[in-house]
Symmetry: D2
Subunit: 208 residues, 4 copies
């Protein structure tokens, strides 16, 4: 019954099981997210702005019990535990049901009351069917879902449902380690700004 | 920070501390609740219908983190633990902020997703100011709040914030015990229907 | 698996299911406990010393996972929540296995490390078989077990395993309420010392 | 108060703060552990047997509340989450107080009751003073403590007290990633047995 209060939500989309971290060479190539509105950031966010950082994207719905009880608190823990390191946490509000109850005003109140500090985008409503665009294109099964991108912007982990902190931490650690080695071996950019100090941080992007 | 996600909400109303169970003779006389719409019950609910039962009223807002994390799960536990006994659980949606995000449609989706099984009423919007009518008249400080009525419909406990299960259980136990003794000593009604089988149960009221 | 770490322990004694609070007239008549050594109290404790108070006896073993994870923390919560009221918490160390690992010295270290503040007695070793005397005479199934005595010293609730806080709280509340009414209606003793100020408290008994 | 029940234990040894993962080149060189008796393994365990695997060593005392409530359940979660991967979990019973209550027989009963499945060694009693040998030589501050060794047997993380699952997971993930790259780039041993299939697993070492 407390279980009943915390169940994840399944989308009408086809199921798609996610395994452990895929090797860099076999990473899923995902198109960029499609966001109609951003909160907690002065300018739109693109994955490309975050290169050099590991990105945890948490797809949620504000009326999804497992998101509120497990997914969002975990996203917040990641945000706080790795703030000083090169991990960025992004929320994506992927509404696929009860659309009238989870509009932008409602989400704004929700973000305010739950004190969510990281950037949160609204997945753009799809033309046909209940699924928003990013959710449909990425084949997300429902909420909560976690997508982990490596420092080069490649999707390396897809998970639907509640993920264990140890397992998620290990995946983040592996991607951070790759980045560290990558950092030693390859030139990253030509203008002298390294990945340790990206042009975008959790608060937004600085135009150069 | 997980704390930040679960804080109770304070209303703009004047503070009003609540102590332990008040003696029957000094119980607070509260006017009946004012409800504009009910969920999970076919007919409007009045406290008078519940005489003979102990009533736990849980005042909440669907976007109140402490209500979702603590208050509503506790109300659900009470509902399940004392279902066979003479305890009725009622929810009261006392919206005093973010009104546009917590309307009837949004609440309906929330009740559906969180599988809340007990009757829930919407506290009637007040004419002036953000506080709904019952909340204002009862002097509730914010959400979550618990009001416990004894078998005679007298308010005996008022609590704002998170209440310990042991303490709430003991208050319920005391009121149940009073009822048992009351049951032995006093005639309760003139038509032979005792409190063990009330005219109203959690699913609604039977007209006689 | 966390479950595996917290399982209660079954004694070799015959099973004996416990229900809800029994009516005062049908309470179990239990012989007094048999204790070979007391901790946290300057003088031996008898149930008779506690008349006028509700007594929660928590039977445990220091190497019983469910006692450490659930039973003892609950006993501590009861001790703290009802300290000002007429509830006494007593621990009873009912060792029925691994006797060599749970002797008096080990228990003393355990009580010290876990900061247990209430009186704890060692159930006296039995002559034959692994069960200690009180455990055998009372027919306890294993640890953790809870026995609740009313203000007149009658055992009113027996529970083996993990008990919900709401349910335990309600049982305590019912027994407290009985006492309150009993207090109003009956003379309790002939020397003018009422039950509100018993001769024994959690720290020991005062000889008069 | 639940806090009081779960506090870690400080050893009389000098404090020694631990930071995040140290770089491979600056890892602490620790002498091997000194174990007087092993449980859950048919043969003595040496760090050298585990080369190629990441090793989590959990130093605990069976009567340390924070070990029982946090450290050991976490060690168990690591054991289960990374069982298929190259992570070995080892327990080290570092008794520095209440020696008479935490002898080998008592520990054996504890391991049995808590169903601990991984190899556990008893840190050898020191000649002088209360600290056992390994604890003294490694400068552990108290229990619970975690020491993380990389695939080459170098100590890379030292932590006293409760460690967050995300943070521990990330450290494990980083060490696993190092190993993977190391595996690709360097010859590991001269007898053709790779690290993916070590001569020792959680159940013991096979003599060749």
């Amino acid at each position: 019954m407390p279980g009943a209060m915390h169940g994840p939500m399944l989308s009408p989309a086809a199921p798609r099981r996610a395994g452990s971290l895929s090797p860099p060479g076999q990473s899923t190539s995902l198109p960029g997210w499609r966001v109609s509105h951003w909160f907690n950031t002065p300018a739109p966010f693109e994955l490309g702005h975050l290169q050099g950082r590991v990105v945890l994207l948490h797809a949620f719905q504000m009326l999804c019990p497992a998101c509120v009880a497990h997914g969002l608190p975990q996203a917040l823990r990641v945000h706080e535990a790795f703030q000083g390191e090169a991990v960025a946490v992004i929320g994506l509000h992927t509404v696929f049901e009860h659309h009238e109850a989870m509009g932008p005003k409602a989400l704004q109140a929700f973000i305010h009351e739950y004190c969510l500090p990281f950037p949160i985008g609204i997945d753009q409503a799809g033309g046909a069917g209940p699924l928003p665009l990013t959710m449909a294109q990425w084949g997300l099964r429902g909420t909560p879902s976690v997508v982990l991108f490596d420092r080069k912007g490649r999707a390396r982990l897809h998970r639907f449902g509640v993920v264990d902190d140890l397992v998620l931490g290990a995946a983040i650690g592996q991607l951070l380690a790759e980045g560290a080695l990558f950092a030693l071996g390859e030139p990253r950019d030509h203008d002298g700004i390294g990945t340790a100090r990206p042009a975008c941080d959790d608060q937004g992007c600085v135009s150069k």
